[in-house]
Amino acid sequence: MSKGKEPVFQMTKRDAIEPWKAWMIRLIAVALSLVVCAGVIIALTGLNPVEVYKGIFDGAVGTKRRAWMTIRDTLVLLCIAVGITPAFKMRFWNIGAEGQILIGGVTSAAMMIYLGNTLPPVILFPLMLAGSALAALVWAIIPAFFKAYWNTNETLFTLMMNYVAMQVVTFGIIFWENPKGSNSVGTINSATKGGWLPKLFGLEYGWNLVIVLALTIAMFVYLRYSKQGYEIAVVGESGNTARYAGINVKKVILRTMAISGAVCGIAGFIIVSGASHTISTSTAGGRGFTAIIVSWMSKFNTFAMILVSFFLVFMQKGAGQIASQFNLNENAADVITGIILFFILGCEFFIDYKVRIRSAKQAGSEE
């Protein structure tokens, strides 16, 4: 009787959970979220939720072109997420991916404009890729340098660098404006397609696919199996421990941000040369921030990032379709995405903790 204060729900941390159980929990969460979304859709719009889901599906992968657009944007988001991951694993809050992408993109655009129609592709594309990576690498290493040597706040620093990058792009737009007075660069080399990533295996975005998947695999191996990857993890856990273990923390910070920036720069190259063929201040389009969600939700596992970025892009493409098909505002799809994300993130709690409900028998017993 004296033990009447025992709570109804008891939570205990799990030591480990079998992967299939974890995935079951996640699947149940997604199913539940769809049920809740259905309720919200009926309550707010009176539409048949199954039709709305069909619309989302149709908008994302309904036609061949739509499927490829979804894949194209997934690859870009994935590339950025892969890029920022080493920095975040090091607990270096790199929210400057947006700027690094823009700098990479503007470098690619410049090369397309000045060299796109003269250099042979065999030189041009490696040069564009390397140039974009290098430019973004330099852009990323500036805040890393200040962090390493003077311990400046990298969050603010990388954020501010985004605005500077934005101005660099704005300058580029005015400089290359085409046609004059339009405040946009328009499609670069639209007649000659100079500097446009060619098709590979007959696939429009074949190169994007190959480059990004190669980066995804390389980054996975680098983080999991290389000594440098281990150093990143140690520095992320504790700088002092790292120092005690004889790791050169300054060097790790600089090196990791260099890699992070370079990959984001490659993302800029892929966007400009492989997808949009233009440069604008919306080239990065907030994806440098969305990628942070992708990276964290995937727990820095680059393969999980493929799924997460696909899901986010899928929902975004679906959003446009239901807006068009049912005359719903696109925000309606944001609500759906939000609910699903809430469940997916929330279910991690049930993966980490075991919840036991106090049964009547237990409550009744003395012991």
């Binding site: 030189i123 490696p126 890729l129 007959g202």
Partner: protein, 424 residues
Amino acid sequence: MKLRKMVGLALVSVMALSLSACGGSAPKATTAAEKTESQASEAAKTESKAETTEASKGGIAKEDLKVGFIYVGDENEGYTAAHYKGAMEMKKALGLSDDQIIIKWNVPEDETCKDAAMDLADQGCNIIFANSFGHESYMLEAAKEYPDVQFCHATGYQAATSGLSNMHNYFTNVYESRYVSGVVAGLKLNKMVEDGKVNKDAVKVGYVGAYPYAEVISGYTSFFLGVRSVCPEATMEVKYTNSWASFDLEKEAADALISDGCVLISQHADTTGAPTACEAAGVPVVGYNISMIATAPKTALTSASIDWGPYVTYAVQSVIDGKTIDTDWCQGYKEGANSITELNKDAVAPGTEEKVKEVEDAIKAGTLHVFDTSAFTVGGKKLETYKKDGSDVEYIKDGYFHESEHGSAPAFDILIDGITTIDK
């Protein structure tokens, strides 16, 4: 050491290597690309064959027609709301059903627009409209890939020079609406001076503009000329937001103009930002696109507006009839494409309605020319001649600037005396 460095560089170098490897096989890749493209266009041809046979009979049967729209905003934003209204007028006039109209909302002025246009074409649209200035180059791209689909772009100017027979530009003589709304503003200013609320030597109008483009310059100049036609002592200050639609920036710009001594505000930007600021400050305001009376019941006078219905109806009807759509289409007050929204009885000066009627009649009759060169000066001198860079077209003839006659998009981009611009 070496090994470690190699791992560190792997990310970049592997890619570079594989890319240069690609370069070698690039010609092959291109032929493959061309092949798929030609296959695609062949497929498109066979698909369109059915349409062509019908076209020879006179266009596309009304029931088979699909119309696509690409809008930069949604119904909450005045400019797009006006376009949507025009689309609905067309739907009603031609008796189309709901599923024959496909609208893409909130399409930004970047490559998303090309995706949207291609997707609409894939869905079988025979004619596609886009409503924002920055959509144009992406519409051109899509027009190249779908030669059988008609692409109509509002406010643009590249259709004539693009050499594409399926690309069209359209706009209306919005400067006429702006001029009339300027007359309403001028009468209000006179009333304010008469009532002693404003000093005769401090009659300054504020204008919230979007970008320093000809479309905006032509707009505020015609508004100002309307003001000055009844209130000659007025001056005007223009502030740019560098955005077509930003509630916050427009509100801020209006606030800044008011604190700078402007006693009346007008706008060429798409939100209710300026009227909101004006209602709070008790400053009269002339809006754009939609009536601002709901936002500013005490201070909104009227709004210069465009009715897109006549064009959209004309263009879609042309597709049904199998007729060619004008490369540049521009009509005005006379044809019902322009007007001002309802006058706010609580805010306008007495006698406004009569004066407006008189001015409107003169515009319709063609006796009043908005850009009459005797009504303004540039650098203290009357404008005698005006040609644009790289063009031989003389805009000034018979004593007025021939706006929107040599292309549907506005052309007047001269800063006249009495107007000052803040910022660049």
